[in-house]
Amino acid sequence: MRTINYGKAISEAMHEEMLRDESVFILGEDMGVMGSVFGLTRGFMAEFGADRVIDTPISENGFVGMAVGAAIRGLRPVVELMYVDFAPLALDQIANQAAKMRYMTGGKVKVPLVVRAPGGAGRRNAAQHSQSLDALFTHIPGLKVVAPATPFDAKGLLKSAIRDDDPVVFLEHKFCYAMQGEVPEEEYVVPLGKADIKRPGRDVTIVAWSRQVIFALEAAKTLAAEGIEAEVVDIRSLVPLDFETISASVRKTHKVVVVHEAIKRGGYGAEIAAQIMEELFDWLDAPVKRVAGLNVVIPFSPALEDAVFPHVPEIVAGVKEVVR
């Protein structure tokens, strides 16, 4: 199968959906003339015109709100927040408007909106350009939240997100853009709400998403060399969550490590850990361990940044704690 990178996979998903459905359009900062700061929409403006690939001013709440309005009218906007760190500026439109509209109107109004937002640390982008804010969205009823780790999943999930009739927050990891992976030429989708076992194993379950899946797979290799077979469950969708897949894995391994890049306190890992305890207490041989970001602001210094969120060694160590 051909190999493309995660950025290209996202780009292809948008491109194919725009060809497939005239109601899909793109809006955000630098999406048009520049083709987005990460180059994902290069050429789109020339191909689809300035009405369907819109360069916005720096007005996050405003243009997300406009996307909500257009979605209410039946279009399918795919809006980008250049960094997820800017989501707090647009959170009223995401959390109070888009997320609640269907419920508040008793089902009368739907908001088929996708908000794409790159996140993640490690690029020396400092405190306001490096966060993982998954937990800001997962706590809001009415939103779906997706965070793919591989090119295949990114493309398939984005296509599903665009076709979905509810608002979907699509969390990309800046460090994944350049990562290569197999992606078929043919049309496919990955459904929202389905986890994927990225590596089977019998000794311990590692639950992860986004870039941490890549680290978890590396950690699993290291562990295998020491005779520990880790099963890596990539949840892919945070909401809805495929708890059945997690559950099946835990019933097999009896030990779990949940891994995420966001800070630990109030991260989505707490939710997963709490659910596992509530439903699988008697299956557990050890407490669910969380390996996650420190409860600190992301520092700029190359001497500090990598120390504040998990990499392979922290995952390996975390697994050893639960399997020892």
Binding site: G65, M66, R73, D92, G106, V109, K110, D165, G193, P240
Partner: protein, 330 residues
Amino acid sequence: MALAHDNKAALDLYQDMYRVRQFDSMASKLFAEGKLAGNIHTCIGQEAVCVGACRAVAASDFIASTHRGHGHCLAKGGDARLMMAELFGKATGYCHGKGGSMHIADLDLGILGANGIVGAGIPIAAGSALASRIRKTGEVTLCFFGDAASNQGSFHEAVNMAAAWKLPVVFVCENNLYGVSVEIHRVTSVPDIAERAKAYGIPGTVADGNDVFSVLAAVTEAVERARRGDGPSLVECKTYRHHGHYEGDPQAYRSRDEVEKWKRRDPIVRLRAEILSGGMAGADEMAALEAAVDREIEAAVTFAAESPWPSASEATTCVYATDNDRSVAR
């Protein structure tokens, strides 16, 4: 005003305004009697704005409303029964009781939705206009908002984009002088909100918000401009709310004199007098019209009161399009 001489049109406007007045007066009464819960914001005194503005657009056009939205909704064709049932929280309401007074929407009537977040409807209205432009379907969107909402960042961001892209939207500011207790000039340094149009290079006009013809004329011009593709306008309608910010507001922030002064400019009393003195209708005809509306509102209350409550299971539906059980469970 050409329309002022069209008897039928004048009577229709009167009927719509009178309906809004009676609906909100009824809501006020029911609230006082403890029959309605939550926050009720009436637009009593401001009826010329919602009715005049909505008369300037077609059924196929759109409006975005606010927390003070009953009038907008009725003026755009909303059904008083379904609205009243929503205020009661009944299963028969516009939103099955799930939204309440601040969240009524009906896309079939072009009502994009009321909004509990001050200023949040402004980008939504601009987005609706963007949709019309992308689809080339020609609708105009009216965006209602208060004087105080014009201090929200969302106003600036949305009006700027609409202006830069010449979107078919008309920004209708209902300036009733206050945002809750705060007199607008204590927190805004321009005498007229309409001045703000200059920051976006769009027309800004001031209408007498207590004269339905003044509102209708100003909004009509703005709608025509928008429809032609020449972009948005800001129409400021100077008006006043007779009641408190919400029902139950002690209104210590404004004087009785001020309220009385504005009540003497009641837009409904004024239009009624014009109709009668202009011979557009007789007193009997007016009384009959009013009685019909009164019955409509009474019927709405009866409908609402007699309607069933939503069943408990409704609490967990409509969070998502499908898959509610699963998504709500986790």
